[in-house]
Amino acid sequence: MTDFPILTLLVFLPLLGAVLVGLLPREEQGQQRALGLGFMLATLGVACWAAAAFDGRAGAPEFQLQTTVPWVKGLGLSYHVGIDGFALVLVLLTAVLGPLVVLSAFSAVKERVKEFVIALLVLQTAMLGAFLALDLVLFYVFWELMLVPMYLLIGIWGSERRLYAAVKFFVYTMAGSLLMLIAILYVYFAVAGPGGHTFDYLEILKAAPKLPRATQVWLFSAFAISFAIKVPMVPLHTWLPDAHTEAPAAGSVILAGVLLKMGGFGFLRYAFPLFPRGAFELRTTLAVLAVVGILYGALMCLAQRDMKRLVAYSSVSHLGFVMLGLSAFTVEGLSGGVYQMLNHGVSTGALFVLVGILYERRHTRALADYGGLARVVPGLAAAWLLVTLASIGLPGTNGFVGEFLILAGSWTSRLANAPVIASVAAAGVILGAVYMLWMYQRVFFGKVRHRENERLADLSGREWAVLAPLAALIVVMGVWPQPWLDWIQPSAERLVQRMGDARAAEVGLAPISEPVFAPAPPRAAPAPGAAPGHPFPQIPPNILRQLMRRHH
């Protein structure tokens, strides 16, 4: 079955679901929800199939399970999909969140249920397609396709200022997309594969890094701005608080959980490897903006009175960590950045589910309308606490592993003033605890101040079903992160290698993939000669001598 087009099935299964839901009678809302949920679960199943078929060992081909179908031959345009480690983990995240989002909206969305389910399914196809596309135009098509259902989700099912938020979201993203489109066209004409001009990613990947530096700076900037809006990076972030605040809970979960990851993924797949010279020119700017985002987003959280807006700004801060990790250009930083994307998807996704659960009961997002809920809804309080801890990166939760790798990876990177940058970023961890615990205290501690809150219902079985998988992921990914990291790491190594090669080819410097310190000893294998049962079986690395060595 190796030739079976798993990825194509994965991408278009939700779309098929959307069509079938469309055929259901309008008044059968239960059926529409159930069918939507069924297709989301089936998609998750296919994603797991793809993960099982994926060969994550070192030395395995980079892009696997590829399918290529010529689309417009004369233009070098084809339907080309394939998967690597980065895409795999993000596809899994998308596939996991899909059914949870549908399930979470069972009672929250009562109007236009059919359209709602269809929008979610189409969005699912668009997101999966964007992760898996290996053709620049195909990617662009899926990228733009994501905009439409999200626009509708905010604009139709959102709260009071939904139109303002929807238009702002659309225009912001569109502005970035156009820059990217121009850059794509430029690359198409500037680069030629063996069969002439092409949009095929793998062909362009071979040729584009050789473009002159000045060109690369412009192309990188065009892609980077488009992706930075999506991440979002300060100062291009102001669409996010509005979009999150006005979107329905399900929309916020998808927005925070997956759509924001598109930005980071874009850097990994396109901006960095296609234009490495441009990336090297601008990486310090990128890293500094990332750090500014960490602190600025955290500071903004302290000023909020609206809990959804607070969570939105916390996303700005968390995604700052992701971008810092990515711009470190070290295996540790990149892996940590990608891991943190997953963490943010899980924990901030869960946080928006929780906020949605509260909103559904009380129809207010103002922190001042709550207080003392821990006694009334202990189950919700416990779940919220766990998610809060993950969000502030407590060791033992997933957030710690990501933050640790990012900070450690950027500390030891070759960014200018890397330790300073990483140290300033680490201060964001303090602020993270301040605003998250502040929110938790204001919602759950103290006495119940509003009589309406006295009779709030605790989590229902369905709500537990939405939260339980996310809670389990928070703990499992914190305690046992290696399986995910093993998927991510080969791709991260390849990217670092690629960047290093481009750098070396350009200036004759040592490639940056040269390890800063000695390679780690193989896992779980005691060094030869170590006495059995000796507490420290590994031979101490001889790094200091290396650090004391003068440059040749």
């Binding site: 225009v171 102001t238 961890v429 205290q441 005691p526 507490p535 440059h551």
Partner: protein
């Protein structure tokens, strides 16, 4: 014991936490307490086994991988050496006793399941902290105990004050943890590892003056880099072990139930900083700067907190400042290279301070929540057993008789006097003087507290009707009283050093080997002169307290306070440090956040740039583009013709 059974030591209480937390309400009050205590007892039994194994020369260890990426290997291994063995006994031993005490103390609380779940979780995290074989896993325990502290301080969360205190503790600790994590990254950059055994091997025989030419520390000397690392760790120590400048959370932490104060905020968690420095003694010994900073912070904190304790009227607050002060002694000890004395004082302090808190808990329990010493008095008659046990602990901490605290405190002062630091030749004398002054203060405020609580006549309705604690509580206090006395054996100045000094010698051998430049060899023999001074100081404090609070001078404190009101209110209000922090940090942060939000986010970016762009497009289209399309067909035709001509010219040119 098999090394694998090490895993069970933290797993027992973790399992207890899960069971109590998930099934708490269904299990019933009695069962929850029994399960939680039983789990800690199991961990204690295994700890004893581990201690015996270490005693016999073994070093049980299990290796494990947590995550490995690129060059970063973060292990999940556990190891027991002599230092860890001592800590294991303290944590599980005192922990078990306090669990038993809690079954009595929390007998009327509505949510015992939650309480014991948190308490068990704390013990599990603390055990991970002392068992970890690398800094990152240690950090798991380090933040884990902080989390449990947060949850337990705010255990009675319906009072906003308690929740606030919990948050303050967590955030102050986060500031310290910021230093901790940066130090770990720096160690990764220097040595490529965070595992103690590897670090120890790498640090052996290092030349601090060697220059680094590559990596993040290019251009630094090795000593400079290590000093930075150690100072960053020291920041973590000031957070966790409540030293200047981050000590402010500990007094507020008394908002938690009293057994929590005894276990977490006196006996175990707050000593984690001292444990950390001792664990990394081989690194600190290479940095005279970091050692001096630790010594000065410790000494300063010991004296500063003792002064504040003079003017506190809340019994638990007195004990809180006392704890800060005693932790100051321990930190000072590490700073002068007296690592074994720090650990010795950690052990004795765990016994007598836990006892003091539990005694205070029995008083508060017997007085239905009263904590103000001005409303106590005469309780020796109502709570005779508690008074006696509390008295033993007071004797131990003040050192009026040579019980455990006398020897541990004196070991620190003696070693401080015989230490030297080439950066600051006066430090031995200064530290000894400050430490002795703090000892005088300790004797005074502790006997004052004892006198106000148990001496004299009852001063309130509650005090007149106070009742003795149930057997589960008094029994525990008596066991701790015995321990507070018996621990003196560890510190007897025998030939060749105190027993605990000799037991811990291998742990600190490398540090002591690196130290001679810093600290001269200790003088041997019994330091009679120092003992004499210590006894004199302790009795002076006792006499002063008796005179002013029981004897003829009872009017004097009020007169004294009235004669210098500013000085009294300065001390009573804890030197206004909380208010200063609020003014300098908290308010600017939250206020600044709102201003920046309004000005930059909503104002500049959204208002000027985003809306400005929209406004520009609208105005441009209204003013420039719309007039062009006013439906005048003749002008359209003209424009078309001109355009066609222009295109022709372009093409045919």
């Amino acid at each position: 014991m098999s090394p694998e059974s090490l895993l069970l030591i933290p797993l027992f209480p973790l399992l207890g936490a899960i069971v109590c937390g998930a099934l708490g309400p269904r299990l019933g009050r009695q069962n929850v307490g029994t399960i939680a205590s039983g789990m800690v007892l199991g961990a204690f039994a295994l700890s004893v086994a581990a201690f015996v194994a270490v005693w016999n020369g073994a070093e049980p260890a299990v290796a494990g991988n947590w995550f490995t990426v690129g060059a970063f290997h973060v292990g999940a291994g556990l190891v027991v050496d002599r230092l860890t063995a001592v800590m294991l006994l303290v944590v599980t031993g005192v922990g078990f006793l306090i669990h038993v005490y809690s079954t009595g103390y929390m007998a009327d609380d509505p949510s015992p399941g939650r309480f014991f779940a948190y308490l068990n979780l704390f013990v599990a995290a603390m055990l991970v902290l002392v068992l970890a074989d690398n800094l990152v896993l240690l950090f798991v325990g380090w933040e884990g105990v902080g989390l449990c502290s947060y949850l337990l301080i705010g255990f009675w969360y319906e009072d906003e004050k308690n929740a606030q205190a919990g948050k303050k503790a967590f955030i102050a600790n986060r500031v310290g943890d910021f230093g901790f994590t940066l130090a770990v990254f720096a160690l990764f950059a220097l040595f490529g590892t965070a595992q103690f055994g590897q670090l120890r091997a790498a640090a052996a025989g290092l030349d601090p003056s060697a220059l680094l030419h590559q990596g993040a520390f290019a251009g630094w000397t090795l000593g400079g880099a290590l000093t930075l690392v150690c100072l960053l760790f020291a920041l973590g120590v000031t957070g966790k072990s409540a030293q200047i400048p981050l000590y402010v959370w500990l007094p507020d932490a008394m908002a938690g139930p009293t057994p929590v104060s005894a276990l977490i905020h006196a006996a175990t968690m707050v000593t984690a900083g001292v444990y950390l420095v001792s664990r990394l003694s081989f690194l600190f010994a290479l940095s005279p700067v970091a050692m001096l900073v630790l010594a000065l912070i410790g000494g300063g904190t010991a004296a500063f907190a003792a002064i504040i304790a003079f003017a506190q009227n809340d019994l638990k607050k007195v004990l809180a400042y006392s704890t800060i002060s005693q932790l100051g002694y321990m930190v000072m000890a590490t700073g002068v290279g007296a690592f074994w004395a720090a650990i010795f004082h950690l052990v004795t302090h765990a016994c007598f301070k836990a006892l003091l808190f539990l005694g205070a808990g029995s008083v508060i329990h017997g007085l239905h929540g009263e904590q103000d010493m001005r409303k106590m008095g005469g309780l020796r008659k109502r709570l005779p057993q508690t008074a006696a046990a509390f008295g033993v602990a007071t004797v131990a901490i003040t050192g009026v008789l040579p019980l455990s605290g006398f020897f541990s405190k004196d070991a620190i002062l003696g070693l401080a006097l015989s230490s030297s630091n080439r950066l600051f030749p006066w430090s031995p004398v200064l530290l000894y003087a400050v430490g002795t002054a703090a000892a005088l203060g300790t004797a005074f405020y502790m006997w004052r507290a004892f006198a106000l609580t148990f001496g004299g006549a009852p001063r309130s309705e509650a005090a007149e009707h106070g009742h003795e604690a149930p057997i589960s509580m008094t029994l525990v206090t008596w066991i701790l009283a015995l321990a507070s006395i018996a621990a003196l054996v560890l510190g007897l100045p025998l030939e060749g050093g105190a027993p605990i000094e000799r037991f811990l010698e291998p742990v600190f051998a490398q540090a002591m080997h690196a130290l001679p430049a810093l600290v001269p060899a200790r003088e041997t023999g019994v330091p009679w002169a120092l003992y004499g001074v210590a006894l004199l100081v302790a009795w002076a404090g006792l006499a002063g307290a008796w005179l002013l609070y029981v004897g003829p001078g009872q009017a004097a404190p009020a007169k004294l306070a009235a004669s210098a009101p500013w000085a009294y209110s300065l001390v009573a209000n804890k030197f206004y440090v909380d208010e200063i922090y609020d003014l300098l940090v908290v308010r600017p942060l939250f206020g600044g956040a709102r201003v920046v939000w309004r000005l930059i986010d909503a104002g500049l970016i959204d208002g000027v740039l985003v809306r400005g762009t929209g406004w520009f497009v609208r105005v441009f289209s209204q003013v420039v583009l719309r007039p062009l399309q006013d439906g005048d067909a003749q002008r359209y035709a003209t424009a078309m013709a001109l355009g066609a001509v222009a295109m022709l010219w372009l093409l045919l040119r």
